[in-house]
């Protein structure tokens, strides 16, 4: 059956293309729809009045009759269309009237017959379509029909093909989703039938890459089904560019040698301060890299006390990484030598390639690398850090706080911001990697590696484009069940995308498509740079929540209100506190304190009240996450609060009870030290903000849902 339909459509498309057309006619559209089970109105050609009556009888309800004549193009003008005809007598009358009208209109017209088309019942208009996205390829779209939705742009996208379940999620992903469930006493539409239309369109465009666009507009959705009133199919001659793809094993093999090298060569190593080749050497040495460091420089005998080689080919033994610190124009020949030496990774710090318009130079080095099987990082990057190896292969400064987050950036400036932020906040890092022009290695390679890397608990990526959206989604979907993937997609807005275009020459995809498909991949999208950095800092130290019940415990009622706002803003749920639990909380708080949620312990309370309520929050298995609101008072100073909270959290951890605990500290400057202490003891804490602690908790929940660790997942 699947083969039959493919043969039918293949034959049809070949005919259309042989005729040099890129658009299908309505009857051709119907052939395709029928082949793929896309529901469209029934229609038949009736050559005489009896055939018309018989055809109309086969359709449920009223029909439309239309003249079919090669000589009558404007059917309506010719009186050749009558709608809403029902019953044999009316069909007969309408048939004769149309024939008469047509003859009166053009007595010489050749009449092939009359088309009898099923009339669709009134229902909710929806739109189902498929487009070819420059980043993601075939993508299906779903939205409500009508003017309002066009104005409000309430449409959702998924990578094609979609499963029936995935298609169903699209119905819930539009803002006006309620409409489909029946509002104001309206009937809900047949969700399964709508989802089937989406699924079948997604299969069609997947099977036939030359179909660039399909539009079912509108689909009439009713409680009984979903039928496309119209199908539009557009073809292209363009072949999508094939990109060399590496297998998962190949990626892991070369990435392991990149991130855990035993020997590194620095091409362009230098004794001269201020040169990049000097900075890289010093950072490698000062960073404490335990493997071999081989300077390569034709003009020096030793560099920073290490024997220098004229060429990388002279370096003895195996080398895992060659770091390039030479001008762009010398890269190609040095890369040839790297290839001949069999070094699997070239880290290209120099700029002066595609980003300055030197596309040809970049293509040249890519060709050399492919010939030798060398993988390229860059060019146009600051280098990379692999902290657990004490490896600082960059021209910046060493970074030594080992921890669980791997950070990558497409832009060098953003990379520097990552470094500064990490240093000032003591963020525990497993790697920082510059991707620059992404001439070869890109986010999917890194995701594949970091997904397996036991030192990495979270991956955070700044990106302006994806070279291959599908490869990224595949890598993300393989990684997300294991650890959170955070993405800061720059160029979200039209102006941003335009700026990205001039920056990297990359075609920025439509953000709505990015947004939905990154969500489909289970990726946590950071709304801004600072958010990405905070997620990166906080996610690895937060345990995974075991359920949706969030409880706020606050000394400052004012913080409780703002924290509640933040909980809602982040799509989290304040637990409805059961009576027995409420009574337990009340035992610890003053009579005028407010139990419920937030639990308002009031401002003047001693450390013991904070401790008792936090303890209860961790103890009760019905509570899954705690949000603490601290108020600086003389009775409970900031560090007292920090120490008691850290102590209780550690105690429960030892007993095997781990829940996310985040805190907002309102107070004088001492709260800053308290926050740093808390962060270092596994409690995410921020001063002067009620938004950030809840935003990072929200990010953790988004991940837990995407990873299937909580209900309500994708």
């Amino acid at each position: 059956m699947a083969e039959d339909r493919a043969l039918t459509v293949r034959a049809l498309l070949d005919t259309v293309r042989a005729e040099g057309r890129s658009t299908l006619t309505a009857p051709e559209g119907k052939v395709i729809a029928d082949a793929y089970g896309i529901a469209v109105p029934g229609e038949e050609l009736a050559r005489d009045v009896d055939e018309a009556v018989a055809a109309a009888a086969r359709f449920d309800g009223p029909v439309v009759l239309k003249i079919v004549s090669p000589d009558i193009l404007h059917k309506t003008d010719a009186g050749g269309v009558i709608v809403g005809v029902e019953g044999a007598a009316d069909v007969r009358a309408a048939f004769h009237k149309i024939i008469a009208n047509a003859k009166a209109y053009n007595s010489a017209a050749k009449i092939d017959g009359i088309q009898v088309q099923q009339m669709l019942p009134p229902g909710q208009e929806v739109i189902v379509g498929a487009v070819t996205d420059p980043t993601f390829g075939k993508v299906v779209a779903f939205g409500l029909g009508g003017v309002l939705v066009e104005v409000l742009k309430d449409v959702t996208f998924r990578l094609a093909p979609v499963s029936a379940d995935e298609a169903q999620t699209m119905l819930d992903s539009i803002k006006a989703a309620e409409v489909l469930k029946g509002v104001r006493g309206g009937q809900p539409v047949d969700r399964w039938a709508v989802a089937e239309q989406i699924r079948r369109v997604s299969e069609l465009v997947t099977d036939f890459p030359e179909i660039v666009e399909v539009d079912l507009n509108p689909v009439i959705a009713t409680p009984e089904g979903a039928v496309a009133a119209d199908i539009r199919v557009i073809l292209t001659d363009e072949q999508p560019k094939q990109r060399r793809r590496y297998s998962r094993d190949e990626i892991l093999r070369s990435m392991k040698r990149l991130m855990q090298p035993r020997a590194v060569a620095v091409i362009g190593a230098s004794n001269e301060q201020g040169k990049i080749g000097n900075s890289v050497m010093r950072n490698l040495i000062d960073g404490g890299f335990a493997g071999d460091i081989h300077p390569v420089n034709p003009k020096a005998d030793d560099i920073l006390g290490r024997k220098a080689y004229k060429s990388v080919t002279d370096v003895p033994g195996e080398v895992d990484v060659a770091v390039f610190a030479i001008p762009a124009k010398f890269v190609a020949s040095a890369l040839e030598e790297v290839g001949r030496k069999g070094i699997p990774n070239a880290v290209l710090i120099p700029s002066g390639f595609a980003e300055t318009g030197e596309h040809q130079l970049q293509e040249e080095i890519v060709a050399i690398a492919e010939r030798h099987g060398v993988r390229l990082l860059g060019p146009n990057i600051y280098g990379y850090y692999s902290t657990w190896q004490d490896l600082c292969a960059t021209f910046c400064t060493p970074y030594d706080v080992k921890g669980g987050v791997a950070l990558t950036s497409q832009s060098g400036g953003i990379g520097m911001a990552i470094l500064g932020f990490a240093r000032t906040t003591k963020t525990g890092v497993s790697a920082i990697v510059g991707l620059g022009n992404k001439s070869d290695l890109d986010e999917d390679d890194l995701l594949t590696w970091f997904g397996e890397d036991p030192n990495t608990q979270c991956i955070a990526m700044h990106l302006e484009d994806l070279k291959d959206g599908r490869a990224f989604v595949e890598a993300a979907q393989a990684t997300v069940p294991k650890k959170p993937v955070v993405v800061l997609k720059a160029g979200r807005t039209e102006a941003g995308a335009k700026a990205a275009g001039s920056h990297t020459g990359a075609l920025a995809g439509d953000d709505a498509v990015y947004d939905d498909i990154l969500k489909q991949a289970g990726v946590i999208r950071a709304p801004g740079l600072n958010d990405m950095l905070e997620y990166a800092r906080a996610l690895p130290i937060m345990p995974t929540p075991q359920g949706d019940n969030v409880v706020i415990i606050t000394g400052a009622g004012g913080s409780g209100v703002l924290l509640s706002d933040a909980v809602m803003d982040n799509g989290l749920s304040l637990m409805e506190i059961p009576e027995d639990l409420d009574a337990s909380f009340r035992k610890f708080i003053p009579p005028f304190g407010a139990a419920g949620n937030p639990v308002d312990i009031t401002g003047g309370e001693p450390p013991s009240t904070y401790e008792a309520t936090i303890r209860l929050g961790l103890e009760d298995p019905r509570i899954h996450s705690l949000v603490l609101g601290y108020w600086h008072t003389i009775v409970t100073p900031p560090m007292v609060f920090a120490e008691l909270t850290a102590k209780v959290v550690a105690e429960f951890k030892e007993r095997g009870i781990e829940k996310p605990v985040v805190a907002s500290l309102a107070g004088d400057v001492e709260v800053e030290e308290a926050c740093q202490y808390l962060f270092e003891h596994g409690v995410v804490a921020y001063p002067y903000t009620t938004e950030k602690p809840v935003a990072v908790l929200g990010a953790k929940y988004r991940w837990a849902r995407a990873a299937g660790l909580l209900g309500g997942g994708r």
Copy 2:
């Protein structure tokens, strides 16, 4: 005419209330609509067939005929309604058919006649209404009709009454505003007619406070007009509670003595460390207050080296402020003495009033204060700071960075966060005021004062509710043309509002109403606590932009993309750079750098490139604001960038050229010091974020528009 209509409606409403009804009948609704010029379909009662024909002839187009009989309630069931009747013959036939149907349905029914009602043409359905908001009183609402909008909650609100211009802005304030302008080739609706319906409804509810709700649903808007198909009016018996309101002069007089006192008494002053009365005394003294400080304590002769008085009545000379640092139960009697002494302001630090359920105690002190004309700040507050007077009347710690922002908070915890944030960022402050339970003084009093205070350039307020929304809007509208007013409204979400309810006992208003009306008042709403604090820090040091043209100058292309996103997110416009200006920029940047906007000077550039481009940005009068993206390199280190930027900005300032300049610094930790330096030199700068600098610029623009200093205002 205005009086006539008032008399007509007054008489009608009196009759309705005399009958004990709270809902008006359709004919009564029509009487009111006609009185206020609210367009509704024409209708007439026809007692015989000739009257029906005559009535139908008076209306344009088709009509609806409806039986009018006290004995037939369900007209449709009785066959008593026929729609779409046009022409004398059809009217006659329909008239007779309805009479026949009615008799068949109930032969004993008394028939008063047949109502002939004009049929409305098809058009865009919109909703116009008015409600009585607990905070703001009479409020008009406007939205599109139909199921979709109900689901998407696309409605906008304004304080009633509205002018014709204000009503017009409502048509643009809904998300689906485009629909009214005509999309997909549709015709635009008659905006004036729609606005008139809004304006007239707003007048009606203003004139008659007992009308709690009016609904015109739907109004059919067409290119030719806007007619309400239905009008619904609901009355109440409740009298709105009258609140004592002070005149502007009275407020300014007492506020001046509160904020610029010559003598302060501390009731409950103490020598005992850890007591609030001790902290307040010490802060007053350590803060350097130059006026008189009189401790009051019946059990001490002197406190911290100052003569103590048994009672405030014993204090010699005039006293401007009495700060209360005694338990709640002693407040009333001490307040009597304050009243007798003629002290105009009582600052009530103690808690134990409405916030702990002691409403009666609070009412008692309010009554005492009203009797004596004493104004109350609090109770349940940390006190207040008036920095330019070196006045720290709080139990916290002194704060001495004088500057342009006045900050107020309803919650003590938030007040402490304000203090800590201000201290760590060296925010220049004119005052910090705790409002607590707001038993008397509230945001409108403070706005009135700070609006006049020459030391205050910006006012930032945290609030959970407004006691009197109209008084606040009035005060804000008087202030906004002079200086920005920032509001953090806590309890935005349902959960937040619930938490606010348990916190202050205040009824949190619907946030959509708050949002629209704060906008109408020209207030800048901060989305969160940290945003409010950053706005407060940045707005006073930023000059007012003279126009909409924002230009980004960036060393980091990656920052340029994110800054462009932020510009769009904040509703700002990236200037379209004219060719001559583009050419001027290009002179300074490398050939592969991107001119346009962002101006991408590329990463490796020396200080002179930053300087030349910033100089050009300040020089060219077509550019109104600069957003700088700095990338930390060896060539241009952070402090070099900071100093050159500050120098250029200062130089132009001396020449009388001031534009907002904000900067995002991407780099290692040295950028933090550079940002602090820049801030202190009038350039708003942040490390590790591209969002914040643009967000505060956006806030400044929102204010400039609201203040009428730019186009596109409210």
